[in-house]
Subunit: 380 residues, 2 copies
């Protein structure tokens, strides 16, 4: 399961040209598309050309991102669409529910938007997931474009076609596999990202090292300070390499019947933390960061990896500005119960993504007692 290193120079120096637009193709037959990565993409005419013709476009954003970029995007769309609508939702995971889909659908239906209408998701992972799901189900499917404005969305959630909303009983429980027409990852939008969200995005970047590319893990250790300082070349490389690895995985397993599940390293523990605390307490990336510490420990306890691996992961995750200890308040019993409703669970058995060598992940179950120990060890 090691990603081919030929995809890019995995240890490219951070001095690489940051200005050029990079394109990472996602190869999915008639659902193939490109991720555009670069600075100034929102202002670049090439970002908006070649999309399908339609009378109507709808931009979905949130009340944090809309004041910064909505008008820029709307201005770029107006030459292409007679009617450019927008829906601005409240910011946050707590609002990732049916109400948002209902608002999007009502806006479209009130404008008599037909099934050629193109949706644009302008925001982080929550906006991308909800807009993608709305696009998947409005009139049984309209095209959509992802414009991720957070690091997390650029390296993970906007790529690969997973769309969803939350249910009170579980995160991302209702959704669809539905591919965008294009992903526009404008690195300039990361300049306005709060530090806490940058760190949350780094959790998903870090993930790609242990699951698929040991050399990228080395690179991250060497460039973590540059990434947190938002060095443009370092960010460009981190986003590109992350997208390349994700593209390689998704290209082989679009609907998560096997390999794709490795992208959820740290997520089984992480989702339980998010649901246990109530959405919105911790950011998704923060929960994944802590979840990766737990999954690394479980890999060690099962004898797959040496103890030094846990220390290495915990150090890197801490350097990324992420929590490495879960709130003890969730309780071990509830934590386990929450993991049992994870989408990767089968017949009530929790399936963990574990590391068996640097750059290689496996799916494994584990004895409850061992998992409980891991939870206790990393809760406080």
């Amino acid at each position: 399961m090691t990603a081919p290193s030929t995809l890019s120079n995995a240890v490219a120096p951070a001095s690489a040209d940051a200005a050029r637009v990079r394109r990472v193709p996602i190869a999915l037959e008639d659902r193939s598309y490109d991720i555009h990565i670069g600075n100034g993409l929102l202002e670049d005419a090439a970002s908006w050309s070649g999309l399908p013709k339609a009378r109507c476009a709808l931009i979905v954003s949130n009340d944090t991102v809309a004041p910064l970029y909505l008008e820029t995007v709307a201005a770029r769309l107006r030459p292409h669409y007679a009617q450019v609508l927008s829906v601005v939702l409240p910011d946050g995971e707590a609002y990732k529910g049916w109400d948002a889909i209902e608002r999007i659908a009502s806006t479209l239906l009130e404008a008599a938007a037909d099934r050629k209408t193109v949706l644009f998701a302008l925001g982080g992972g929550v906006i991308g997931d909800m807009t993608g799901f709305a696009a998947a189900i409005y009139m049984r499917g309209v095209p959509f474009v992802q414009i991720p404005t957070t690091l997390l969305a650029q390296v993970d959630s906007s790529v690969g076609g997973k769309t969803a909303i939350n249910h009170a009983l579980g995160k991302n429980m209702l959704g669809a596999f539905y591919q965008p027409l294009r992903v526009l990852a404008d690195l300039d939008t990361l300049k306005t990202l709060p530090d806490r969200e940058l760190s949350a995005g780094l959790a998903e970047v870090i993930k790609y090292g242990p699951i698929a590319d040991a050399a990228f893990l080395d690179w991250l250790e060497a460039h973590m300070d540059a990434l947190r300082a938002r060095d443009p070349a370092a960010l460009a490389h981190a986003v590109q390499r992350s997208c390349e690895i994700k593209a390689w995985v998704v290209g082989q397993d679009e609907r998560e019947s096997g390999l794709r599940a490795i992208l959820n390293f740290g997520h089984t523990f992480g989702h339980a933390i998010e649901t246990g605390l109530g959405y919105g307490e911790w950011l998704h990336g923060e929960a994944v960061g802590c979840g990766m510490v737990m999954a690394s420990d479980l890999s060690v306890r099962l004898g797959l990896m040496p103890a030094a691996f846990l220390d290495r992961m915990r150090t890197l995750i801490e350097r990324a500005g992420l929590p490495v200890t879960a709130p003890a308040g969730i309780g071990v019993e509830r934590f386990m119960a929450l993991m049992r409703v994870d989408k990767k669970a089968e017949d009530g058995e929790i399936r963990f993504v574990l590391i068996e060598s640097l750059g290689r992940a496996v799916m494994r179950s584990a004895p409850d007692a061992l998992v409980a120990e891991v939870i206790r060890q990393h809760s406080a």
Copy 2:
């Protein structure tokens, strides 16, 4: 666009063997499946064999059908699944909304049902559409089986993978193309069907004549009395031929990019009647029956068909026990506005399915004034 007559003997005598199980294949590559048509299918072990293994099954039904057949189906499923859940929803189009999906999802999540769980839709078109949609989005997709218990669902809505719920601003506006694993059309369940619902189902049966098979239209005229008397052989032939024509259309155009739209003959007018009256006033098939009268008249007024075609269609639709006049209370302006948000509309232009020769349909727009005349002519 004429369906190949080799699919079956289109003018088979009603004395054909009614007892045997007929199978109509729907050819959609890895989403292919069979429609089983026959008497006693619910009791037949073959109906339930060969489905994917899972811990959990969920039967979705309504409070009209559940007392009749839920226990029979549950008993058949228990040998195959450790946990057989059920959700019984209120009967009727008015309940075809998000609340139903939420109830299904909650039941599944409370039972920690994983993504191998198989859903069974036991009921008419509303149950089939909602259950299919729930299956399409629960954990981004679980398998499901259609067990249509109304004529309408057996000949139309349970076949072809269109799933949806209604929105206050339009019928079936949120949904997915999602194919079932199998369709079990047990003709015995039609014995408990109220006359009004039998007539509603006949509307969708009649539709297949003018759009795809002139000989089937002849056959329907010869056997309408037998069908209303629930002659088993006549029903078996009507269901089989309807499914064959639908299979032929869907096999060529799964996602309604072209040909498939002909299956909506009468539906553009019909949906406007349903939405205009509020869901639940008229049955879907009743609205389609009246809609076919209007669409036939529009075909005549546009010079595609001779005036005798309208008389022929109106007579057959009346003989099926269906209304041929829409309630004048909707008003022409509102009627037109409702049609403009139809999913087949493009750039605000209404696209009608019209007949250009017996057995051949075309998609056409029409002058507003002409459409308004048609609405007025057939409203009272």
